[in-house]
């Protein structure tokens, strides 16, 4: 998906270090400071312990003529010291860490932008105040408090939302609400306004590379590791994007083929090729109107709109011959405009 040099570049871009992922929220640097504090205290202790262990092991190693010498069997001052010293340091760590924790759980005053999140096996759905729903892609404005109101249906399982760059994580228990807030400090989104489709494709790829990762961190079944999403942080253009995305999702003023291509680029291209090459799933090239043979259903002479719509909504219903053992496609919720877009896009790939 990502080429190696590109990965290295984006890592630098996003400011990741040897230890930490990129730090891109108002609390992430505080969390890193807690880490640094504990890290240096622990390193000091570790060095002392290891120096003593190795030092004694070398100095008092058994060799001809060497014998152990008597020394006190215990020492109250020493034992009190190494009980009290760690206790004090632990108290310092506790106070410092808990203070940061309270900062993490207290939503700052001011305007809060709420996004509804539905976690399900194995999808993240983000719903914006204007009604727009997008799967596996979270778009947020920079420098504004965003609060995610998350849920998982009570017939589903536990999921957990984790955005390393923001240092946030929250389990989503089925049958109840869970919330988490953050305020991004770095934008990742570059405008998509290239003149040619090729330019646009490159820009979208670039955006995908720059976006932060979002993971499900509570084991939720077979495709747990595929339950990931990308977090795009917008500059001042968030509302422009939101409006455009909304219109696009409704198919207002967009060429369906272009819409389909965009959906393809963000959702389908990991498994479906458009140049006829074999991938995890059947290629889109030449799919339209072709004969489809299945392992679990009678074959279809001409692949049409109904067939494509069904494949998007219930991918397991009919499995194309030769692809039985591949990972199943995750069903996603598409609206009519999006489905039409994909259909038109596949039509265009004769």
């Amino acid at each position: 998906m990502m080429s190696l040099p590109a990965t290295a570049m984006t890592l630098l871009d996003k400011g990741g270090t040897f230890w930490f992922p990129p730090s891109a929220s108002t609390v992430s640097s505080d969390v890193d400071m807690v880490f640094e504090l504990i890290f240096w205290i622990c390193t000091a202790f570790f060095i002392v312990i290891m120096a003593m262990t190795i030092g004694f092991a070398v100095k008092y190693r058994h060799r001809p003529g060497h014998k152990s010498e008597p020394s006190p069997g215990h020492s109250a001052p020493l034992e009190i010291t190494w009980s009290l010293l760690p206790t004090t340091l632990l108290a310092v760590i506790f106070i410092f860490a808990t203070e940061v924790y309270f900062k993490q759980i207290t939503v700052p005053p001011g305007k809060v932008y709420e996004i509804e999140v539905t976690a399900s096996q194995w999808n993240w759905k983000f719903t914006y105040p204007n009604g727009l729903s997008i799967d596996k892609e979270l778009h947020i404005p920079r420098d504004q408090t965003v609060r995610l109101v998350m849920r998982s249906l009570d017939t589903d399982v536990i999921h957990s939302l984790f955005i390393p760059a923001f240092r946030v994580k929250q389990d989503v228990m089925p049958g109840r609400y869970a919330t988490v807030w953050f305020q991004a400090t770095k934008s990742t989104w570059l405008k998509v306004d290239g003149a040619t489709p090729k330019e646009q494709e490159d820009q979208m790829k670039e955006n995908l590379d720059r976006a932060f990762n979002l993971y499900c961190t509570e084991y939720c079944g077979t495709d747990h590791s595929a339950m990931t999403a990308k977090v795009h942080v917008h500059d001042s253009d968030f509302n422009v994007w939101l409006d455009a995305a909304y219109r696009e999702s409704k198919g207002i003023g967009v060429d369906p083929v272009e819409l389909g291509r965009k959906i393809y680029l963000s959702n389908c291209n990991t498994c479906h090729s458009i140049d006829g090459s074999r991938n995890k799933a059947p290629t889109f090239k030449g799919l339209w109107d072709s004969k489809r043979e299945f392992t679990n259903a009678p074959s279809v002479e001409h692949a049409n709109e109904d067939y494509i719509k069904e494949s998007m909504e219930a991918p397991q219903k009919r499995i194309v011959k030769g692809y039985e053992n591949e990972n199943p496609m995750t069903p996603q919720s598409y609206n009519d405009a999006q489905i039409k877009g994909i259909i038109e896009f596949i039509k265009s790939l004769k």
Binding site: E116, R151, L153, T155, G175, R176, Y177, A178
Partner: protein
């Protein structure tokens, strides 16, 4: 080695009168707990019932189970187990009081009702 008396009885023998008195006390307390339960004391109901049950339990432990006369170690073992259960219950209850708000608000929410209806209709299909 065997300095002990061959006919010496092991353990503490409980006098018959004590056994009968304990039994009567337990029956009386059972009657009391039933009688009190007929009155509605609101949230106090649970605590009164638990209080009486704890007294009954302590009597059973002390006399029927010989704990009063037994090695203190056995009392310690039993005591620790009871304390651990209390810790387990207290922590989970205190915690649940915080998160149950989220569940109630979830169940009253429109999204939940809509999802329920959707699930029901899809199941019907």
């Amino acid at each position: 080695m065997s300095k002990h008396d061959e006919h010496h009885t092991l353990g503490h023998v409980m006098p018959a009168s004590t056994l009968i008195n304990v039994f009567l006390a337990l029956i009386v307390l059972t009657v009391v707990t039933v009688a009190v339960a007929q009155k509605d004391l609101g949230p106090l109901n649970v605590w009164v019932a638990l209080f009486i049950a704890s007294i009954k339990g302590s009597i059973v432990c002390a006399y029927f189970m010989h704990l009063k006369y037994d090695k203190k170690l056995n009392l310690l073992i039993f005591g620790i187990s009871v304390v651990l259960v209390l810790i387990m219950i207290t922590f989970t209850i205190v915690d649940s009081h915080f998160y149950y708000n989220n569940i109630d608000s979830y169940q009253q929410s429109e999204t939940f009702q809509a999802a329920k209806a959707a699930a029901a209709s899809s199941a019907a299909k």
